[in-house]
Subunit: 403 residues, 2 copies
């Protein structure tokens, strides 16, 4: 039985050659996609010396010694309008009105804010403050220079990156195609949402929760099915799933019988077969991982909370590593309101609910032995106890990963 | 000029009667939607007494005193298969094989794990451990009882809630319609992505960043346009936007001229007009908020970073309050790697970049006076300095809200 770390490493080794494909996509739908190319600027930003204030473009030396009591006097020779080129240039002793964001005339080397000036008449300006060279100006290429690397391959696209691309005038970019992930729920007892709940039957939960998690991590659900505990049915279902997916997730009953089927079916395909037989993880011990037809197949536990935990423990990191990206996990630091012993030799994932008191978060465990649905509806996050840890002490602060 | 808190309060007061509508949606697309109804269970979960292990259903009293050296002996009268009703019942001295998740016979009050048993032959079972009543069993309705409130109105739907609904056999639920939000970029200098960048022109960034933020908070972009600095054009553009939206965001130049247009145009509609004229926020001071035709109109600053900050400061909380939902902000606690003075009398939002060192996050400020695009591409989060705070000291730990 491997540890979580060992299994993560093995996953990446076994699939080191597996490549996710690339596609070109419009800026309006690139949210959360991963850049598959470096973005290099083909323009200067700004393209011109730009004012950061409403005021007058001047030569800084003309303002030396200016004060309220002894203002400097300059000629106003005109104005620059927003969106227009600055056609006039200023000689020494001259000034030009420029609005915030407007272009400066060639010989101007500073902007004086309108609040520090007074118009005597349409052609005469008093300035009551000295300004330094470069004051209130953003110079051409100060922000981004032509040829500069602005966003690197592997960058996850969020609002800020979208702003950068819009500023650079880039409408389409190359991103990694969403990993195609298929979900199979196995078990004679499993029925779908719309089926009548007969005695002994259990509703399919895993297909729905896993499909939600797949979209969370930027994947695409390539398909989803419920398959009975039958070798042939499972094999042909898996064969079809493998054909149209990068990864297949099979969640099954925890009973020994079902696990045997899944194991044998994975082994029946070309490839390395099962290479992880159980994990030192709690919950989620009976997880298996394998390779068939070059694709990753994970046999998740049947218990919905266990399959959510194993998915969270592995899939996000695996996809991020393959696409060369990282992310800061959605989390909050919380004070543990409980003592909790660890499970020696296992990495434990404990679900918690959070309470905000006096600006700090406090976490309490949620347990699911009897109440799996209650657990799901009450849990807001989880903490991770590493293999070597003794446990959690009430009052200590830990990172809670948000569900 | 109002503080952020005062403006938030005023927003909710002014729009206390504004209602967002409701729609019925399929479970496959309810991710991140907000429940508009209470979900009450119309079934018991489990519907039957269920085993949590592979093992034998017995009467607990039959196992009293059992041990390795002196095992108890029971008759095996059959098995229950997954997904099937338990038709046989056990008398004292009898046992029935039940797999994990399988249904227990009526008179069984405990499950003994298969690991604690030994089959002498097909009809004889040795048990070597005493079990208590209720051991390894989830009783009917232990998880959810018929008529129990499981998910409350205002709950944000995530993976766990989807699992709950699937377990309850609920395929469609009533959720709040996504708030329809329209974005207008104003300014003679603004051009769209595909237009040729002429001297003096600036690319539209705000429409793209705001559209991204709108989907972040669960809104729907009802439309988006660039409008020149012209009263009539802005008024007719805003009129159309108001007709099809719940909220309209107008981002404009910081120059005094553009702000005047926006102010006058808002006032020209039926309604309370502008009720927030500037905010004690940095950046974002020249923000205005108003009401026209019963809808919320926000005049955001033209600077993309400022408009992102103001959006983050107000829209998420406003929408969440109107839909009666809350969320835990994605954040990390980080050590500040810098001293930073506050701006007295203002709430400051400072963008930072994060570095992970020895398991702790460290934050450094990103500044944007010259480099707005560089700022956007480097910032990963922001910290909030409240009005009363003196500043940030290097080494102190603060919450960094993730962008």
């Amino acid at each position: 039985m491997l540890s979580v770390e060992e299994a993560k490493k093995l996953l990446l080794e076994r699939f080191s050659d597996y490549k996710f494909r690339v596609e070109e996509v419009d800026i309006d739908i690139i949210k959360n996609r991963i850049l598959a190319e470096d973005i290099v600027s083909d323009i200067n930003v700004p393209e011109f010396n730009r004012s950061t204030v409403d005021g007058y473009a001047i030569r800084a030396s003309d303002s030396h010694g200016a004060s309220d009591s002894i203002p400097s006097i300059l000629d106003i020779i005109g104005e620059v309008r927003m969106g227009e080129e600055a056609r006039l240039d200023i000689k020494s002793g001259e000034s030009l009105y420029v609005p915030t964001g407007g272009m400066l005339p060639k010989s101007a080397d500073a902007m004086i804010m309108i609040e520090n000036t007074e118009k005597m008449d349409e052609e005469t300006l008093l300035i009551n403050k000295a300004v330094a060279v470069g004051e209130n100006i953003v110079y051409k290429a100060d922000d981004i220079g032509l040829g500069e690397l602005v966003l690197e391959r592997g960058r996850r696209i969020s609002t800020e990156e979208i702003g950068v691309l819009a500023a650079l005038g880039i409408r389409k970019i190359r991103v990694y195609k969403k990993p195609r992930i298929y979900t199979i729920s196995t078990g004679d007892e499993i029925i779908d949402i719309d089926e009548k709940l007969e005695t002994g039957k259990i509703r399919d939960i895993n297909n729905y929760t896993l499909k939600s998690l797949i979209t969370d991590i930027g994947g695409e659900v390539s398909g989803s099915s419920i398959i009975k505990d039958d070798y042939e049915l499972l094999r042909s279902g898996l064969e079809e799933a493998l054909r149209i997916s990068d990864i297949v997730l099979i969640s099954g009953g925890s009973s020994v019988g079902t696990r045997d089927y899944t194991h044998k079916v994975i082994e029946s395909f070309d490839g390395d077969g099962v290479f992880v037989h159980g994990l030192s993880i709690k919950p989620g011990k009976p997880t298996i991982m394998g390779e068939g037809e070059g694709k990753l197949i994970i046999g998740l536990p049947g218990h919905p909370v266990s399959s959510i935990v194993v998915f969270n423990a592995f899939l996000k990191d695996y996809i991020n590593s393959k696409l060369g990206t990282r992310e800061i996990e959605s989390s909050v630091d919380a004070v543990m309101d409980f003592n909790f012993p660890s499970s020696p030799g296992k990495t434990s994932y404990q679900m918690v609910k959070l309470e905000l008191r006096d600006g700090r978060y406090y976490a309490e465990p949620t347990f699911g032995k009897s109440g799996m649905i209650s657990l799901l509806s009450k849990s807001q996050g989880y903490i991770i106890l590493e293999m070597h840890e003794e446990g959690i002490y009430k009052g200590e602060e830990r990172r809670v990963y948000l569900l």
